[in-house]
């Protein structure tokens, strides 16, 4: 096979963000949830520009001839990215400003821009500015040799000043010396919320934004000057600094250094409102940006910081109906899980099911006198999380606790360093990752000494040990005491804690050791078993598919009649539906209220079906540059459940889009084929709700009669 087609990774990502925007644009989604989706689109873009676009820009400079699998040079990609991103941002903000805000207003939740303040509101924000905002502002002058540092991803207001003609300017520290272009920049303070709730007598809820207020009263910062122009803007800078991986014991120090460097990195993206055109040109020149990098918006900008509006009290009709999290029916919240896990494995599907079992499992482990050791990977977790507290307690209770803290978890580094230190103080053995590799696998191992021997309890998950994201990300995890998995878990922890060199595991596959190899082998096996009469069958669900070797293997499989269903939320470099390449491959993507985050892989294997869960996407980054795991689910009823779940994901026709061979995504709709609507997340929720009810109903009906015997 030659001339295989691939989609470009970055453009495919942008289409993912476009699908997120589609969800915001969908009339069926409640208004405040639409606002949330707009915020997600925006913060997604921030991250994308900071990492990917910045990387491409560097690549365009450093490796001129380089082309990706789809045949684009870095420069060609940048051009296409800019074009498509402009389209999406325009759609996003014109929807926000001219559709969503008016709609919210008609629902008595109204945005009041500075120009529309009535007298009372004007007085209110003026006082607020004087008392609470003004003391926090630090105008930066721009007339020094070096342009002032603009903090990454924060809103700023730039002011173009004009000396008042009739007065001699007062000598002020802020006075610009550069008389030709007197410009000052103020960062919108991060310590106060962007959303200001205005007094609203008539039962409406009114709000304005702190940047409106600062723009309005900005002139007060510069006595003796008149504000000629003002511009609200946000800059995204290159954040991908390599850490000195060889710094060994001093890794924390090296990491802190990176965090400092990050403060002064190159800008790659400028988002601004339609204010001063002179200022815009000035910033463009000073920040070294090209026209392609500038995104100017009519109205409110930076949707990523508007989530507070979506969290406004009340307005339940503007939000999703509440979906409760159910405690797994087979577990008793008041009983430790030790006994039940001896008999069977437990599969947990958050957020339909509560994260509670995991928390109580760790809590019980931290207190149980028979527990000897707890080992756990922590990738992104919150510092005050109950998990960290339980680990601390366990260490204080004399258990050996080992925590693998991935300092390199993007954007969380600073937080990670602080709670890692807290753990160490409690006596936890803290391992700060592995040189050159990010530990992305999620695993928990509890060693317990029981009457008839040592027993190991293992929890393996597709999602992070983070009680907050467990409410928004849909993830699967498995509790098991299977000895083969337990052995592998022990060896896995040995490898990542410096106890052992690489050892090959038996049941768990591990990246970068053999995960990719095993995946390829499973695809090849499917090809071997496949014939036109009995085609092979692969179903897989993941966040991103970008590994060329895997994609090529899937193409080969398609040509060998293997039927392949892929549910890929984000990037997909595989081109489906091409003759003699991928005609048996179908790719769909689900975007709904919960972020799809689980990775499930199913292989028909000639009838001896296998099903795996994994922390890894099928991307080179995950398969080659991260420590990841893929583990089999072996208990029959759980396999069946997972297979059904996967099948359900391919039956969704309300929140799914299907990837076309030209790279566009076609939104599925039940009307298309006259089907009844299937919304996978809702079906799952209802399913768990029903089984929880069933449990309630099956509570034994028993009269406890009080009488003397």
């Amino acid at each position: 096979m030659k001339n295989l087609k691939f989609f470009n990774r970055e453009l495919s990502w942008i289409e993912f963000n476009a699908r997120v925007l589609d969800e915001a644009l969908s009339d069926e989604v409640p208004h405040l949830e639409r606002l949330r989706f707009l915020a997600i689109v925006s913060s997604n873009f921030d991250e994308f520009f900071m990492i990917r676009v910045a990387g491409l820009k560097r690549k365009a400079l450093e490796e001129r001839g380089w082309k990706d699998a789809s045949g684009f040079t870095a420069r060609q990609q940048l051009l296409r990215i800019s074009k498509r991103a402009h389209e999406i941002l325009n759609a996003q903000y014109s929807f926000l400003n001219s559709v969503l805000f008016p709609k919210l207003a008609s629902c008595r939740l109204e945005y009041v821009p500075a120009a529309s303040y009535n007298q009372e509101q004007h007085r209110f924000v003026q006082n607020l500015f004087k008392d609470e905002i003004f003391p926090l502002l630090t105008p930066l002058r721009t007339d020094f040799g070096r342009f002032p540092h603009i903090t990454n991803m924060r809103l700023h207001v730039a002011f173009l000043l004009n000396p008042l003609v009739d007065k001699t300017p007062v000598k002020m520290p802020f006075m610009p010396r550069n008389e030709s272009f007197p410009c000052a920049i103020v960062q919108v303070p991060s310590s106060i919320s962007r959303v200001i709730w205005l007094p609203s007598p008539d039962g409406k809820t009114l709000f304005t934004l702190v940047d409106d207020v600062i723009t309005l009263f900005g002139s007060q910062l510069f006595p003796g000057y008149r504000v000629k122009e003002s511009l609200l803007f946000k800059v995204v800078c290159d954040a991908d600094f390599p850490v000195d991986e060889d710094s060994g014991g001093n890794f924390i120090k090296a990491m802190k250094k990176v965090l400092q460097q990050r403060k002064s990195s190159l800008p790659v993206y400028l988002e601004c409102n339609s204010g001063g055109t002179k200022l815009k040109a000035y910033l463009k020149q000073k920040l070294g940006l090209s026209a392609d990098d500038i995104y100017s918006i009519n109205g409110v900008i930076d949707a990523s910081t508007l989530t507070e509006i979506a969290e406004a009290d009340g307005f339940s009709e503007l939000k999703y109906p509440v979906w409760k999290e159910y405690y797994p029916a087979e577990l008793d919240p008041d009983q430790p899980m030790w006994d039940i896990l001896k008999h069977k494995d437990i599969l947990l599907n958050v957020p339909y099911q509560s994260f509670g079992p995991l928390i109580s499992f760790i809590n019980n482990a931290s207190r149980d006198p028979d527990v000897l050791a707890i080992k756990m990977t922590l990738y992104r977790t919150s510092g005050n999380s109950p998990i960290i507290q339980a680990l601390e307690r366990a260490a204080r209770n004399g258990k050996q606790v080992t925590a693998f803290v991935e300092l390199k978890a993007r954007f969380d580094e600073r937080r990670n360093i602080s709670w890692a230190a807290k753990l160490e103080q409690a006596g936890v053995i803290v391992v700060y990752g592995i040189a050159n590799l990010k530990v992305h696998a999620k695993m928990l191992l509890v060693v317990r000494r029981e009457q008839n021997g040592i027993r190991r309890y293992v929890h393996l998950s597709t999602g992070n040990y983070n009680d907050k994201t467990a409410r928004q990300y849909s993830d699967l995890s498995l509790f098991t005491t299977n000895p083969d998995i337990a052995n592998d878990a022990t060896l896995f922890f040995n490898m990542i804690s410096g106890y052992s060199a690489v050892q090959v595991l038996n049941t768990i596959s591990m990246a970068p050791v053999n995960l990719k190899e095993n995946l390829l082998a499973k695809i090849e096996r499917e090809i071997r078993f496949s014939s036109p009469e009995n085609p092979g069958f692969i179903m897989a669900k993941m966040n991103s598919l970008a590994d060329e070797d895997i994609i090529k293997a899937l193409y080969r499989a398609s040509c060998a009649d293997v039927k392949i269903l892929l549910n890929v939320r984000g990037i997909c470099m595989l081109v489906p539906g091409i003759k003699k390449q991928s005609e048996n491959i179908r790719v769909v993507s689900v975007i709904d209220r919960y972020l799809e985050h689980s990775r499930i892989f199913y292989f028909q294997n000639g009838g001896a079906e296998e099903i795996y869960l994994s922390s890894a996407d099928w991307m080179p980054r995950n398969l080659e540059r991260r420590v990841e795991i893929m583990f089999p689910v072996m208990q029959k009823d759980l396999c069946d459940r997972l297979k059904e779940l996967l099948e359900l994901y391919f039956r969704d026709n309300t929140k799914s889009s299907e990837l076309q061979s030209n790279g566009s995504w076609k939104k599925l709709s039940p009307a298309l084929n006259g089907e009844s609507p299937v919304r996978v997340q809702e079906i799952l929720y209802k399913g768990f709700k029903k089984s929880a009810k069933a449990i309630d109903a099956s509570q034994p009906l028993e009269f406890v009669v009080r009488r003397k015997d």
Partner: protein, 509 residues
């Protein structure tokens, strides 16, 4: 509560850890395994010393292992730390051991080659449990090629014919290749010659081409088994001769980097992989085995086994009989007078048993006496005159299965004093022994001299010996002959030590 046991093994290429949960008599589950590479072998086999960096590395690893074992709450007396050939040969071994003790609290036991053989034997025996009969049917070899030594056992229909700890290992070969031999081709020729010579020597003990069963263990061959063998049971694999040969030639062309990528091994292991397999191939070529039996076991399993199996009378007996068989083969090699040796063994043991309560010598001491009795005359192979000195030399430079260097040293001393009238005191080798061992040598030689005297004619006239302690006398009643004059004279001559050590007068009836 279930007991846990752990073994740390400081080998030529790395330090390995194994922790087990003992589930019953002689059965266990491995619950933890680790391995970390350290170049002890390449230090020692080039310079003779373990370098400072390597010592620090060892200490760091051992500290990590200590932490790791803490996670299992294994008590200290259930942790065995052993070291094999590399550390054994290191000239600074005492300081290394001391550093390790001071820094980590681990007391390392250095295992000698033949002890390694013994541990390997019980490990293999355990792994092969069900398939043991095949060992009895043919001649077989059990072989492990390590970093610094090759452990080898030849078995003739289930009986130990010879054991050797050869100074041949992958690290040594690799070092040679790097320094003296330069090219891989030269190194291979060197290897081939070495193994051919070894084969010639071994053939005096057992015809190698009669060997049908080729049993191996060790990381390299196990890796090969995973790649080109078939799994027979949990811990046993088989590789056919052809598929092994083609696998070996395939691997010979790999660079270490390719080996790393394909077999997921460290760079150090990758460098040794090809050479290790080639060595197996050359040994396999000496035999007529059609397949390689690979056992997934190690010296660490041997240690665990010897820790946890309660002295099982039958197994112990089997084991002793292997030791005796091995010693007997050593004797045959030097054309010993087997009938005489057997007779001396019989009388010596009879005396020993009769005086059992008086002696204060353990069963192990009895075994040493038995072997000394069998081998006391091997020196006559060189020259009849002063043959006790030649016996001493031969024994102290030979390997007998199941006996370590200290044991062989004692046996050689006992053999040395089986005749002649030299005083033991003042002799360097004797003085070098510990006090306990000196007493043991005295007691055993005293008995051996008497036993030897009782077959002075080398014609086994005495059919039965009934010793009896009466007052200050040890009365030796003999049956089967009236003519004991020669023996009586001999006893006059050689009973001196007995009388002075035990204080009994010997009377031959």
């Amino acid at each position: 509560m279930v007991a846990l046991e752990a073994v740390l093994e400081i080998g030529s290429t790395g330090i390995r850890l194994m922790a087990c949960e003992i589930t019953g008599l002689g059965t266990w589950n491995v619950i933890d395994r680790s391995e970390m590479p350290v170049p002890i072998g390449s230090d020692v086999f080039t310079t003779g010393y373990v370098s400072k960096e390597t010592i620090l590395q060892c200490i760091k690893i051992l500290k990590r292992y200590k932490e790791q074992l803490n996670g299992w709450a294994i008590e200290e007396n259930h942790i065995q730390v052993i070291a094999t050939s590399a550390l054994r040969e290191a000239r600074n071994r005492d300081t290394v051991l001391d550093r390790i003790l001071v820094k980590t609290g681990f007391r390392v036991k250095v295992i000698d080659g033949i002890e390694e053989n013994r541990l390997m034997y019980i490990a293999v025996l355990d792994a092969l449990k069900e398939s043991l009969p095949t060992l009895r049917e043919h001649s077989s070899v059990i072989i492990e090629i390590g970093g610094g030594s090759t452990e080898l056992m030849l078995m003739d229909h289930g009986k130990m014919a010879a054991v050797h700890s050869l100074r041949l290992g992958t690290v040594i070969i690799e070092q040679n290749q790097q320094t003296a031999l330069r090219t891989q081709k030269d190194a291979h020729r060197f290897l081939e010659e070495f193994i051919r010579n070894t084969g010639v020597n071994l053939s005096t003990e057992l015809k190698l081409e009669r060997i049908k069963t080729f049993i191996t263990m060790g990381a390299e061959i196990l890796l090969a088994a995973h790649s080109c063998g078939t799994k027979l049971s949990d811990r046993i694999f088989s590789i056919t001769r052809e598929s092994f040969f083609s696998f070996v030639s395939e691997v010979q062309d790999y660079t270490p980097e390719e080996c790393m990528a394909r077999f997921k091994i460290s760079y150090n292991d990758a460098k040794l992989f090809g050479v290790g397999l080639l060595t197996y191939k050359l040994f396999l070529n000496l035999t007529s085995a059609e397949e390689i039996i690979v056992t997934d076991t190690s010296i660490r399993d041997g240690i665990i086994l010897s820790r946890i199996t309660a002295p099982n009378a039958e197994l112990q007996q089997e084991f002793f009989s292997q030791i005796v068989a091995s010693a007997r083969n050593l004797g045959k090699r030097y054309f010993f007078d087997e009938a005489h040796a057997n007779h001396v063994r019989y009388t010596a043991l009879t005396l020993f048993d009769a005086m059992h309560k008086e002696l204060g010598v353990s069963d192990h001491g009895r075994l040493l006496l038995e072997i000394a009795a069998l081998l006391h005359d091997v020196g006559t192979y060189i020259r009849a005159g002063d043959h006790e000195l030649h016996s001493e030399y031969i024994i102290s430079h030979s390997d007998v299965f199941g006996l370590n260097k200290d044991d062989m040293n004692i046996i050689s001393q006992v053999a040395k004093y089986h005749r002649g009238s030299k005083s033991l005191y003042g002799e360097a080798a004797f003085s070098a022994l510990s006090r306990n061992d000196r007493v043991l040598v005295l007691k055993l030689s005293a008995i051996l001299r008497v036993a030897d005297a009782l077959d002075r004619s080398h014609s086994q006239k005495i059919k039965e010996l009934i010793p009896e302690l009466r007052g200050d006398n040890m009365i030796l009643r003999v049956e089967g002959t009236q003519d004991t004059n020669l023996e009586r004279i001999a006893l006059e001559e050689k009973g001196d030590l007995f009388e002075s050590v035990f204080g009994y007068k010997l009377l031959l009836n």
